[in-house]
Symmetry: C2
Subunit: 297 residues, 2 copies
């Protein structure tokens, strides 16, 4: 697809090349729990729409944060300019909207998507409440990632149940499982970011420098750890500050507490997965959650 | 409505305070030609959705062009920062999507909106083809304003026919009238921009400096006017260049030709308006078109 000599498909490939297409995969996995059997081919447009929505928000996020790289590749605005990146994001929103309107049967389902899209955007806006705010709380963090990350996992799972003619109970259950996995996924991602940087000894945690506090730090801030608060209140963080903050987060057990919180979500997800109809996808979901937990063992 | 301490409503009021709410007005005007009588109160959410979509694209346009002012007021990114402006635009897209999904009865109608939204975005992207391009043609210009401006007028009119249970024929007619008025509206806006700057003797036409060529210039470029092509090919335009270009556009009759093209659209609109059911709104539409034409008399 070419618009204005820009190859939109290649833009998307640039963005998703190293992506895991988790949301479409979730949607397809959950589409086998209801009564109606649907061919994967039929479901591709809806599966794609979930990735498209995700990519649209990533493109705008990268413009806003002026991030040079995403998944080790140059970001869209770095490669094609800010103008094209903003319009490409907008264009993908319209494409998402089109795919949803074309491929969902009921207005209620379309509305479900619209409301999710809204929650995702509110999650993005909420993120600003946490940035550079040493008064950030776990509640604020949970609210943010619930919108920013868990909502789209939740929607993907719920949509799977919807297209397979699942009962209201099944839809709610899938929605919850998606939400819990999404929450765990984001917290674990944050923990791994923290641990990787701590291990590789990068000069300063990039996120920290940008005032983006992940859960391990927020737990320390919320516990009123004076040392941590003082460090993060500084205008410019040195490598020493960063290293000290890392030690505090590990020594005071904030990192472990974050791991425990992630596990609470995966445990609840597993409980609900057990209640799903028994089929091979139920096993796949169990395995996915296990792999997620193994990452922070 | 407050998100992250930003008052989104006040952002919208900032933007629409001096706006004419033309698209919602069009929608309401056209909603009285079908069989079904709808109360204005019922139609407010859909009317609002059209202005919301319009405003969302304006906010992003202003970020992209880094325009300091819109309708003599500071633009959103100037007042609230680029980050908030991009997210505010995105948020308004989701709000539009929500209002449409909640208030339209059939999927076909929702899809009509999705496809329009897509065309509008493609119009924005097409605009880049014309910028700084002395090989721009009338066709390229028409295609651009057809997406950028006429599409939303066309959608507003068609939606009016849809919600009043209009026949397929009526919907097509309203769509066409909306399109023609939208085209005329944009061309006349371009002509007035040209004439105002010519009269007030501003140093250099702002748009021209930014490589945005309106119809009068494009007609000259397309006619192969060597002098005009040479001026617009310059890297930096002086006040003298601008004044010379203005003279060329007037002397060679390109301005008058643009006016004639606008009139072709209004004449066709009037022809179709005559075929609408006779009621007071038909008269209002006739008067609107007349006022539009009078602006370039």
């Amino acid at each position: 697809m070419k618009i204005n000599n820009l190859d939109i498909s290649s833009m998307i490939i640039d963005l998703t090349s190293s992506g895991k297409m988790l949301r479409p995969a979730f949607f397809l996995l959950f589409s086998e729990f209801g009564e109606k059997k649907r061919s994967t081919k039929d479901l591709i447009p809806l599966a794609a729409s979930l990735e498209i929505l995700h990519v649209a928000t990533l493109i705008h996020d990268d413009v806003i944060d002026d991030s040079p790289l995403r998944r080790s590749y140059p970001t869209i605005h770095t490669k094609y300019g800010r103008r094209n990146a903003i319009y490409a994001g907008d264009y993908l929103f319209t494409l998402y909207f089109e795919l949803i309107s074309k491929n969902l049967e009921s207005n209620t389902d379309i509305l479900r998507n619209a409301l999710s899209m809204k929650k995702i955007l509110i999650g993005e806006l909420d993120q600003m409440l946490i940035n550079f705010n040493v008064k950030s709380t776990t509640d604020m963090y949970m609210k943010e990632i619930s919108g920013k990350t868990a909502e789209l996992f939740s929607l993907s799972a719920a949509m799977g149940a919807v297209v397979s003619d699942g009962s209201a109970e099944l839809i709610t259950r899938c929605k919850e499982i998606g939400h819990d996995i999404g929450m765990a996924f984001q917290i674990i991602d944050d923990i791994l970011d923290f641990s990787n940087s701590a291990q590789t000894g990068k000069p300063v945690h990039e996120d920290l420098k940008n005032g983006v506090y992940s859960l391990p730090y927020i737990l320390g801030l919320e516990a009123g750890n004076r040392q941590l608060i003082d460090i993060l209140s500084k205008a410019d963080l040195t490598a020493e500050d960063d290293s000290l903050a890392t030690d505090i987060v590990i020594d005071y057990g904030y990192l472990n507490k974050a791991k425990d919180i992630a596990k609470t979500f995966t445990e609840h997800a597993v409980e609900e997965i057990e209640k799903l109809p028994k089929n091979k996808n139920q096993k796949v979901l169990r395995a996915i959650v296990q792999r997620l937990v193994n990452r922070i063992k």
